[in-house]
Symmetry: C7
């Protein structure tokens, strides 16, 4: 097996998973948003870079994802899987962990 | 990626999520309501400022939300995600965590 | 946002939630009922003052509530959310936490 | 609100709940049954005195209860809600906690 | 309420429950079977003496039980409810806790 | 009740359960397979000797089992119920605990 | 029973399970991917070598797997069952534990 050369464009999320580039802290507060550090779930801002084909229904069809590539989103910080790629931080999570689009 | 400029109008909740402006404590007791501090779930008063498109059914259709923008609502204090925006407190939660409309 | 003036008539429970005025202890034993203090779930007597539109089915229709305004009911003491309003105690709970009508 | 005058005939269980008069210990062993004190769920003997309308199906219809008023039943001791009424012990539980009819 | 005279023939299991006479240890090893004492679920041998009408489907019909009166069965020792009747040990359990017929 | 004479041929698994003869350790490594001792679920090799009629669907039909008598299978070591019969080790487990056929 | 001679080609995963050859650490970073060691689920890179027939639907049909033999995939490190075969490391897991294809 040859070495795996990973780049953002080669990551194809399965099912209802979404690949998100994590926004840096500076950006998060630029618009005035402040994400408080409480005992409740922590939100995080990021940008969608890859979207899976959608959740498969029982009849084999798929639910179209509610987010698209380029959307800025608010998601739960503790959800999904952290990945670093070329110096940038990414997260792979399921669409239901995305709270809102904040374009 | 440009900095994210967040404002109430740019937050679009996904699915059955609702974006609520938390009412201040003074308001909560103005009408005579007193929310006791028991071991049970704590209620909180707020105003709906954004509503998602509704919960998606298995056939792709959506359930119309039971609350609308402007509704004063009672919700469980420990539910959802706290967000601060321009000095005000907000919470993003799913509609099922809203207990009642108290207009 | 103006102050919220809450009264019993302005509380509209969502879904299958029911708004109940908690009966005082004197009333509970007047009819001879005694609710023992065991390790099991504790019952409580109250009167229904507001009823939500009912649980929504998957097809969008609703299940008619089994209780109506004015019904005296027995419910689980630890269920739902306690609310005080004008000196009286109320509880907001889902219909499935109501054990029996005791009119 | 007038005082609640409770009697066996005024307790109307909701859904698939059943109202049972707990048999005294003397009765339980009269027939030779011995309910051992193990780490497993403890059985108890009682007599059905009120039966709810039955579990509601998703289409609004109801499942007819498997037990009727007057049936002697074996049920799990730790299930449901204990109630004392006029010196007698009762329990309110869901039909699925009834193990067998022992008429 | 008259005293309850229990006998094997008067125990009518509800739903998918099965009434089983526990086999004595001597019998269990007579056929060469040895039930090891591991950290996993413990099997036990018994004979079916009463069978409920079967699990009710959502449409009101019932699934015919897979075991019948007289079947020797292997079941999980920790499942169900122990009952002693006339000096013999019995257990009331749901059919899904029966592992195999060992006639 | 006569003594139960158990043999492999008299064990009839219920539902989707499968009766498996555990392979000895020597056999497991003969083909080069090595089952590491990690914190994750431990695999075990065995041979199917009896198969139940299959999982029952809601409409009463059954799903045909994916394994047959004689198949060598890999299964989770901690699943199911251990049984010794005539000096050999067996395990009774549900088909979903079988990971792969390794014929 | 003869000794089991295992090789990659003889491992046939059941249902929606997938047999994956674990990539060595050198390969994982070759493409610039860095899998951080956080408290969240750990990703791992591997290559699919065998795929089961797919998850069975309630009507007996199967959902076609989303991955195929030869796909490089990212999966949760703690999922599934580790297997060593001929000096190489493999893992058997269900398709839902695969996060993305990274060809």
């Amino acid at each position: 097996m040859a070495a795996v050369s990973l780049s953002v464009s080669t990551v194809k999320p399965l099912g209802d998973r979404v690949f998100i580039k994590v926004s840096e802290s500076e950006e998060k507060t630029a618009g005035g948003i402040l994400l408080p550090d409480t005992a409740k779930e922590k939100p995080q801002v990021g940008e969608v870079v890859q979207v899976g084909p959608g959740k498969r229904n029982d009849d084999g069809s798929r639910q179209a994802p509610e987010v698209g590539v380029g959307d800025k989103v608010l998601y739960s910080k503790y959800a999904g899987t952290d990945i670093k790629l070329g110096g940038d931080e990414f997260v792979l999570l399921t669409e239901k962990d995305i709270l809102a689009i904040v374009n």
